[in-house]
Each structure stands twice: as structure tokens, then as C-alpha cells.
Amino acid sequence: MMVPILKQGDVLIATIMAALSDEDMRQFREALLDRVVTSRATAVIIDVMAMDVLDSFATRTLREIAYMTRLRGAKTVLVGVQPEVALTMVQLGLHLEGVATALDLEEGLAYLDRLNRRR
């Protein structure tokens, strides 16, 4: 399962289209970090709207992506966490500290726009 990564200006947009196995998730992490380096992107938006489950492994991998991206000077915004998924994550005890979130792709782009204008 490949995750398409598109570039729009300085922003990379990765849309996860279906449930990913642990191995797919690891490959996605490597592919995304690779693109962050080669494209000199300043921000990454990860759309998880199609993910019906964000368990401890998926959450940890997303957190790693955000942290590694930050070390490259780019920001990560997670968008599209479904309400049922959010509830379950809280109950499970999962945290996404240090990862910015927005309702959907549009809000994510607007958030990055506001950040850029403040600079």
C-alpha cells in the first residue's frame, strides 16, 4: 500500500488512503522523510481521515515522523482524525504532543498560512 505524497509549494501533503500494516507504516515514514530532505519542504500535512484505527503503533510512528521532520526544520500537521478515533486514542492513553493538528486538509493549509504570515 503506497501513500501518495504530493508537493504544493513548500508543503508536502501525504494522504493515507486505507488502513496500513505496520510494515506499510514504516515504509511510509521512510518515504516521507526522504521527500522532506530531497524537496526541502518546510511543512508536512498528513491526512489520516481514511484511517479507521489509530493504535499505539500508528500513533508512535506518526509522532516519530513529526519529530524527525522537526529536526529537518519542517513542521508536521496531522489532519482528519475521526471523532471516534480521537475518543478511542484518549481512552487508550495515546498522546500526540508536539504534533500540530487541524480538522481537515483545508484547515491544515490555512494553519500553515497563518504561521508563515506571522514570520
Partner: protein, 135 residues
């Protein structure tokens, strides 16, 4: 309603997805709310991953339940792995011997209504978790 139990062998990480998709379908058919369906699918995901990381292989069994207070679902994760040396510690948040987050078992207990571990060193582990429909 005659829903059958489902058995999913867990041998690789793609089996985790198969198990939780089957669990999701069964839970939806049993009439669980969308939030409970996600809770059940997430619990299956955590238990199946435990089977893989600690025992390399095992099985997830999903059973429709008919209790006094209505219907429910049981998730039974069993393996013939090394067993859990200290079940009390395994149930503590942030305790892990596999390098994970250590939220698997205590997290599953929070997501489900009933929870039980049977483990014997050198013989394996069986975790059963139940969730009841609320209408």
C-alpha cells in the same frame, strides 16, 4: 441472529488488519455504536500486535455473545509464546518488555468492559476481553 465466531490466525502484521476488519464487521452487525466499533477494532489491533511481538504467532478469536443484558462481543487472543512473567506489571501503564509504548494491555482494559489474562510461563498467554452493547 445467528452470527458465527471468527478465527483469525496471526502470523504477520497484515493479519492484524484482517483481524480488526473482521472484528469491525462483526461489531457493526451486532449493533455496536460507531465509537464502540472503533474501540473494539483498536483493542483487537493491540492484542494482535502483542501476539506477534511476544509470541511471533497465535490466534484471535471473535465471538458474538448473548448475555442477560443483551448482546456483546468477546475478543480472545491466544498464543503459545513465553507467557507473561509478571501479569500485574504488564497491566501497568508504560510498562513494556518489547520496546513498545506499554499501553497495549492496560489500554485494552480501558476500552473494553471485561478483561482477563491467563498466562503460564513457557506455555503461552490467553487474553479475553468483552464488550457489551448499550442501547
Amino acid at each position: 441472529m445467528a452470527l458465527c465466531q471468527v478465527r483469525v490466525p496471526i502470523d504477520s502484521d497484515s493479519d492484524i488488519i484482517v483481524a480488526r476488519q473482521k472484528g469491525r464487521a462483526l461489531a457493526a452487525e451486532l449493533g455496536f455504536s460507531p465509537t464502540d466499533v472503533v474501540r473494539i477494532a483498536t483493542a483487537i489491533s493491540e492484542l494482535a500486535r502483542n501476539v506477534l511481538s511476544y509470541a511471533a504467532s497465535g490466534e484471535i478469536r471473535l465471538e458474538p455473545l448473548n448475555g442477560r443484558n443483551g448482546c456483546g462481543i468477546a475478543i480472545v487472543a491466544s498464543d503459545r509464546g513465553p507467557g507473561i512473567a509478571d501479569v500485574d506489571r504488564a497491566m501497568q501503564d508504560a510498562y513494556s518488555t518489547s520496546g513498545g509504548l506499554g499501553l497495549g494491555l492496560p489500554g485494552v482494559r480501558r476500552l473494553m468492559d471485561e478483561f482477563r489474562i491467563d498466562s503460564a510461563i513457557g506455555q503461552g498467554t490467553t487474553v479475553s476481553a468483552k464488550k457489551w452493547c448499550r442501547h
